[in-house]
């Protein structure tokens, strides 16, 4: 789907929370995003549109700009030019990380990033959706969360027996699971999941695909992954990124049969 098409979709004029007009009906709308690092052009006019409740897999060779795209969406990296709009009204290029997270965009990092000195349960506790202001955290609701609420999430990611262990003691795969659990606790509208199955066994990979499909029933999800097996198991549209722009988009069969995609992957 091209950017023009996404704009053509923009029929609704219902005002958003900021009172702005909806630019698009898409949940996430990126258009002609450009990012340069010390002269290296990591994103060169990336456009991508994600519908509400859609799951999308992003593939592409190393250095294609996949992670950089997530950095732009989450406010970590400011694009040089281009549009990034969430929910039709929020200009992501002007907001800081915390505001973007508050809007409902959650992220799992390529290198699993959990709070190592905290227990598994506390990692979930800190991720739980709800007010996050500093002063109320001394006395407020996050001090009275039922253990059961945390265990419900740990059960989904299979970490209940590890709830009291420091996150630092988990294996790589378990940290990936914990970070997915934190995403679930955050309950965002859009989940950005960067290489979730790196370091997992085949069986675990399959479980992860299942879990993501389940999550995608009521959330929009973007998954970056190299593992084609896994991508196929997600049963969703696929976008192939190459040299900072979308090269092809469609079903997994269509994309993997696209001669340009084949060339990019074989050409390495």
């Amino acid at each position: 789907m091209s950017a023009a098409l996404a704009l053509a979709e923009a029929s609704s004029t219902s005002p958003g929370p900021a009172g702005a007009k909806r630019l698009t009906n898409a949940l996430l709308y990126l258009d002609d995003v450009r990012v340069t690092f010390d002269g290296y052009r990591a994103l060169r006019g990336l456009s991508l549109t994600l519908g509400r409740g859609e799951m999308r897999a992003i593939i592409g060779p190393n250095g294609a700009g996949k992670t950089t795209m997530m950095d732009v969406i989450t406010g970590k990296t400011r694009p040089d030019t281009g549009t990034a709009v969430f929910d039709g009204v929020h200009d992501l290029t002007t907001l800081d990380e915390a505001t973007i997270a508050d809007l409902g965009i959650g992220r799992k990092f390529q290198k699993p990033t959990v709070f190592e000195s905290h227990t598994v349960a506390d990692n979930i506790l800190l991720a739980l959706k709800g007010p996050r202001r500093a002063f109320p955290s001394l006395f407020g609701w996050r001090n009275r969360v039922e253990a059961e609420r945390i265990d419900d999430i740990l059960r989904i990611v299979g970490l209940v027996p590890h709830r009291a262990r420091p996150a630092a003691d988990l294996s790589h795969g378990q940290k990936q699971w914990l970070e997915i659990g934190m995403l679930l606790a955050q309950d965002p509208k859009l989940l950005l999941v960067d290489e979730p199955v790196a370091g997992m066994t085949d069986a675990e990979t399959e479980e992860t695909a299942k879990l993501l499909r389940e999550i995608a029933k009521d959330h929009a999800v973007v998954v970056i992954e190299h593992d084609m097996h896994f991508v196929r198991a997600l049963e969703c549209r696929v976008t192939c990124l190459h040299e900072g722009a979308a090269l092809a988009e469609g079903s997994i069969d269509a994309v993997s049969a696209d001669p340009r995609v084949v060339e990019v992957y074989l050409g390495r």
Partner: protein, 389 residues
């Protein structure tokens, strides 16, 4: 919602030991000072009471530093500034208490102002004759500086070495300012020759003992506040910020709010420590702002055990006791000894005294637990049962 952990449950074993020792000291020291006659070998002389009181003030300073460094990862090399400001606020009150009894006998102006030809009291001295006002300033002045400094630095995402350097610059700048006579705060002589506190003679034995007990109480309160903060969700978030600040932002936290809050509370605690220090030591001067003072406080915390609160207090008392002994014997050697101690602790006890003890005990517990059958490792069962429940 689950009830919050009851307040007493937040105190752990080392906390109870700490509070118990403080209570014992609060009973024994006054008893052996007031009830045991001076001739007896068990008698604790009044100057020793004040010396111990001074150690406890340092312990409170160390505790405040541990709150930001141990839990927030903010290595402040300028905490002496907050201690000094609290001390000056108290010193100003004590100066006003002198009244017309100064050497020059001026009804209002302290001696140094008469000497410098001041015609009237500078505006910022107003109100300091009123104890509640001075007590408020003891909290407000360091707290406000801590808040402003913290807010600006943390919002600009200044961290690590850069932050440490600007905290050091802060205390250095204050030192230079307080050395100036036209600051109206006594220049390099500072404030001294105190007579009364709340109309009691500040030199009197009973007053000394009371100040000592109050310091112990302040230390216990400081510990309870810091402990409450660090075991709450706030403290967990603070530790998360210490370990992975960027990650917390993507969860929606604003780290600068959390850090500024810790820094402000910490600055106020340091201010109280300084305020209790001044009447027991009898003087406050700009040397309290020297960068080395703040660095020494960091060493106390490191030696005692960063991130343990109790360890910070212990480190402060032990090292200052050693300092008293050593500076009596060979004053030149102290800085070398302190430096050597710091290096040795960094190399061999990186978690400090209390941190190492906890790790040892934890290992023993783990070894005992290992003899029990392990919990079965349940594989991820995921969606089927997981989501439905």
């Amino acid at each position: 919602m689950a009830p919050r952990t009851p307040l007493l449950a937040m105190i752990d074993t080392k906390g109870w030991i700490f509070l118990g020792v403080l209570l014992a000291v609060c009973l024994i020291v006054p008893l052996f000072n007031l009830a045991v006659p001076p001739g007896s070998p068990l008698h604790v002389p009044t100057y020793v009471v004040s010396l111990l009181g001074k150690y406890l003030c340092y312990a409170l300073l160390a505790l405040s530093l541990d709150l930001v460094w141990g839990y927030g990862g903010i290595l402040s090399l300028g905490h002496g500034a907050f201690f000094g400001l609290g001390g000056y606020a108290m010193g100003m009150y004590l100066m006003r208490q002198i009244g017309p009894r100064g050497v020059y006998g001026h009804p209002v102006l302290p001696d140094f102002m008469v000497f410098l030809n001041y015609k009237e009291l500078p505006w910022y001295w107003l109100g300091f004759d009123f104890f509640p006002f001075a007590a408020l300033m003891v909290l407000l002045v360091p707290g406000l500086l801590g808040f402003l400094f913290g807010w600006l630095a943390f919002r600009s995402r200044v961290t690590g070495v850069y932050l440490s350097i600007i905290t050091q610059a802060m205390t250095y700048a204050l030192m230079l300012a307080f050395f100036r006579n036209d600051m109206g705060l006594g220049g390099n002589n500072g404030l001294t020759d105190f007579k009364d506190i709340l109309d009691f003679n500040v030199q009197a034995q009973g007053v000394r003992v009371t100040l000592f007990v109050l310091t112990a109480v302040a230390l216990a309160l400081g510990y309870l506040i810091a402990r409450f903060m660090t075991v709450s969700a706030y403290g967990k978030i603070l530790v998360a910020i210490r370990d992975a600040e960027p990650r917390t932002r993507f969860l929606g936290y604003r780290p600068h709010h959390y850090k500024a809050l810790a820094f402000t509370v910490s600055a106020m605690m340091a201010g109280v420590a300084g305020a209790l220090y001044v009447p027991q030591v009898g003087i406050i001067n700009p040397s309290e702002f020297t960068p080395t003072n703040s660095i020494e406080a960091v060493i106390w915390v490191a030696v005692g055990g960063r991130g343990t609160l109790v360890g910070a207090a212990l480190g402060a008392v032990l090292i200052n006791y050693a300092k008293t002994l050593l500076t009596g014997a060979m004053p030149e050697a102290w800085l070398f000894a302190l430096g050597a101690l710091f290096v040795l602790v960094t190399l061999f006890l990186p978690q400090g005294i209390v941190g190492t003890l906890i790790a040892r005990l934890g290992d023993r517990k783990a070894r005992i637990a290992a003899r029990l059958p392990p919990e079965p490792d349940i594989p991820p069962r995921l969606l089927e049962e997981g989501r439905g429940s």
